[in-house]
């Protein structure tokens, strides 16, 4: 008897069926061709709930190949629950090599952070996005926001930033700071801290965004102008930390605030692989941007 190996696997390679993968792939190409525009897509059923990283997972599984080295982080950490579960799932469905090392990975999925180390041309960063619509806070109806994007009518957005300044003395947006891509579309960069926003601008790598619950895909190609929304006299700023990493003494990284057992506060580097590399004295190639450069070493 001829042994049939083709159907021995219980699931298709990368879980999603080929027809749906093609749909996601086609939509991703359009997303890349129209930077910052949200392309609706099918958001197929996954073995995890919508809104728990399915959008990022769809993008990852649609583009991943057997040769890829996969890394996934959740809030900068390789070891948090969301990252561990999705890593195991992708590994089981593709047999891909996985890694914690940012420089070794070819495909990185992330929840709410960009890696502290600069990404290269041959890498792709996939974001998990909870709310892809930056205008949702000022306009509740989808058909209206779509029209606003179509006509580049962003007056409401600017007014909301102005009101925030008048009421609170600053633009009170910590994460998910709205950006303008290629001078055209206003885009939600997913809830990355303001620290990461300048790293979207003129990057070397391709950024892909997937919002599973909201069924939207979008992209920022490499070398694309990404500007945070700001006024002439009220500028965008990144987070300022009044301390340095207590483990490494490093300053130029996004820091987590820790409360220790004795009630004192300490700061530690948020990106777990970056922290490991500094602690072990490994070579690091961090992102450089004008905002980070202002921080004294």
């Amino acid at each position: 008897m001829i042994e049939n190996t083709k159907y021995k696997r219980s699931y298709n390679f990368a879980f999603i069926d080929e027809s749906t993968k093609k749909e996601v792939r086609r939509k991703l190409l359009k997303a890349v061709a129209i930077p910052g525009y949200q392309v609706p897509y099918s958001s197929p059923e996954m073995p995890i709930s919508r809104g728990w990283g399915t959008g990022g997972l769809h993008v990852t599984l649609a583009i991943i190949g057997r040769e890829d080295v996969f890394k996934i982080i959740d809030q900068g950490s390789d070891a948090s629950v969301n990252a561990c579960n999705l890593r195991e799932f992708v590994q089981a469905m593709t047999g891909c090599k996985t890694t914690y090392d940012t420089t070794e990975a070819t495909l990185i999925q992330t929840r709410h952070r960009i890696t502290e180390e600069e990404l290269r041309e041959d890498q792709i960063l996939v974001f998990q996005v909870p709310q892809p619509e930056p205008l949702r806070s000022v306009e509740r109806y989808e058909y209206r926001t779509r029209q606003m994007h179509g006509e580049a009518d962003y007056a409401k957005m600017w007014v909301s930033l102005y009101e925030s300044y008048v009421r609170h003395g600053g633009i009170m947006r910590g994460a998910d700071y709205p950006v303008k891509v290629n001078g055209r579309y206003i885009m939600a960069p997913s809830p990355i801290p303001r620290w990461d926003v300048p790293n979207l601008n003129q990057a070397k790598t391709l950024y892909l965004f997937g919002a599973g619950r909201e069924k939207r895909l979008y992209a920022v190609p490499p070398h694309t102008k990404v500007e945070p929304l700001e006024f002439e006299d009220v500028k965008f700023e990144i987070e300022k930390f009044d301390s340095l990493c207590y483990k490494t003494g490093y300053r130029r990284a996004f820091l987590d605030e820790l409360y220790l057992d004795d009630g004192s506060r300490q700061y530690v580097i948020n990106d777990s692989n970056f922290l490991d590399k500094i602690e072990q004295g490994g070579e690091i190639t961090p992102f450089i941007n004008p905002y980070i450069q202002q921080i004294e070493l």
């Binding site: 080929e18 792939r25 190409l29 609706p40 391709l206």
Partner: protein, 195 residues
């Protein structure tokens, strides 16, 4: 006409798609499709066929221009299950670099709320990155400053039509250029093209 037997619908499609994605994200960057023994009819390059195989399925429609349109249509239909359609409705258009520019004006360019509902054109040219032909200067998203792409066998009238149509950004057409050596390069609608 028979289905291609060498082609792996899972792994080949994935590998080829990544090359198309890379070229689309970096306009003007030439990628080479891996060689494969295909039984492509006259009128379409192997690279063009592989782009089609990677993207088409029964959910989308395509239009083939040129004298060999019937053969190529049947070939794509048999291999991808995508449906042939009129140029005005097609999601993908397979054309030759010497095609009449009028064709581009018939293709759909999307609507302001849904600009992605537009055609992608796969254009067969004679050579990409060679010493002869037009030298295009591309700039815009995906290009660090400016880059050059030399294309032999692409009609200037076709490019002029493309520039006119894509001036309506975000409406427009996305271009995939293919040559007989398996090379591909892309010009998405966000690119500025000069020559």
């Amino acid at each position: 006409m028979q289905r291609e037997i060498q082609y792996d619908e899972i792994f080949d499609a994935q590998a080829h798609y990544r090359l198309v994605l890379d070229s689309m994200a970096r306009p003007g960057k030439i990628n080479v499709m891996p060689g494969m023994e295909l039984t492509t009819p006259q009128g379409i390059h192997a690279a063009g066929a592989l782009v089609g195989f990677a993207l088409l399925n029964s959910d989308v429609t395509f239009y083939v221009d040129g004298p060999a349109a019937e053969d190529v249509s049947l070939y794509l239909l048999v291999n991808t299950s995508a449906r042939p359609a009129e140029a005005e409705e097609a999601d993908y258009a397979f054309v030759n670099g010497a095609a009449a520019a009028d064709l581009l004006y018939r293709l759909k360019t999307g609507t302001l709320p849904y600009p992605e509902n537009s055609a992608t054109i796969i254009v067969a040219v004679q050579e990409l990155g060679g010493e002869t032909g037009l030298v295009l200067t591309l700039s815009g998203p995906g290009v660090d400053g400016e880059c050059r792409l030399s294309v032999a066998g692409l009609d200037v009238a076709l490019l002029e039509a493309l520039v006119t149509i894509n001036a309506e950004f975000p409406l427009g057409l996305d271009l995939v250029l293919t040559d007989p050596m398996g090379r591909i390069a892309c010009i998405p609608r966000s690119s500025r093209v000069r020559w």
